[in-house]
């Protein structure tokens, strides 16, 4: 696995750019992962990220987009506005989680 320096932190990323170790994540790394994906994080993004981190800790895997819209107080349309290049991967990626395994 390649290691990279993100915002001054050395981390390991998988082939798709996901952090391999969620515990290595912090807010600065999130900002850098987002920047690389063409996103500037705002309060709405952080609401999603905080939900994803919490949910993954409880459930052991990154939540899918529908689950996020049901539980994080963000609508489906908001999700696509926040992550135009694909909320399915990007919400988990900037949250420092692995790729979601669900199809919804």
């Amino acid at each position: 696995m390649p290691t990279e320096t993100l915002a001054g932190h050395t981390v390991e990323l998988d082939a798709e750019g996901f952090l391999t170790d969620p515990s290595a994540w912090n807010r600065e790394i999130a900002g850098e992962l987002a920047r690389r994906a063409g996103l500037a994080l705002n309060d709405q993004h952080w609401k999603v990220i905080e939900f994803c981190r919490k949910d993954a800790q409880e459930k052991g895997e990154a939540p899918g987009v529908r689950r996020i819209t049901q539980l994080a107080g963000v609508s489906m349309r908001d999700m696509y506005a926040l992550f135009p290049k694909g909320p399915g991967k990007l919400a988990a990626l900037v949250s420092g989680l692995r790729k979601p395994q669900g199809c919804i």
């Binding site: 899918g64 529908r66 489906m76 696509y80 399915g88 199809c103």
Partner: protein, 156 residues
């Protein structure tokens, strides 16, 4: 593919059974979830998926479906289709799979484009009012090819 040529899929839904409705809906939605443009073209029996009066009542095909694991004559017994459908819906609820109606709403919110087939509408004597509002327009087969330019095509 490069940044300037985003990927695009066009999914043709030609079947109206519950088991043939989901693959197209799920594939289109998963494409949108990773940023691929998606359009769906509903034609022939697939029109049932976007028909207001029918979409909540789609049934699993028990006749002529070898995967059901039952002889065709059993599948033809009245009520068998409804039974198989309720079993499948139960399993899907357990897995938190959205209903067909919710899938259409999700697709609409995701920016996927839904179109109905002009010829199928004429054939089944349907009007725009018979279809869910998520359907963006009615296309001829020629219109479909124009809209689908550059897309990967999936026929279901």
């Amino acid at each position: 593919m490069g940044e300037d040529t985003p990927r695009k899929v066009a999914i043709i839904c030609s079947k109206g059974t519950l088991d043939m409705a989901y693959p197209g809906l799920i594939l289109a939605n998963s494409a949108r979830m990773i940023g691929i443009d998606a359009m769906l073209f509903f034609t022939f029996w697939g029109m049932d998926i976007v028909n207001k009066k029918k979409l909540d009542k789609l049934e699993v095909a028990t006749v002529g479906n070898p995967s059901m694991g039952m002889p065709t004559f059993l599948g033809a017994i009245p009520g068998m289709g409804a039974f198989a459908t309720s079993m499948m819906k139960k399993e899907m609820t357990k897995l938190e799979i959205p209903t067909v109606r919710e899938m259409l709403e999700i697709l609409d919110a995701s920016g996927a484009e839904l179109y109905a087939c002009k010829m199928a509408m004429d054939m089944f004597k349907l009007t725009r009012d018979d279809l869910v509002p998520e359907v963006k327009g009615v296309l001829t087969a020629m219109d479909f090819w124009e809209k689908a330019e550059g897309a990967q095509i999936v026929f279901i």
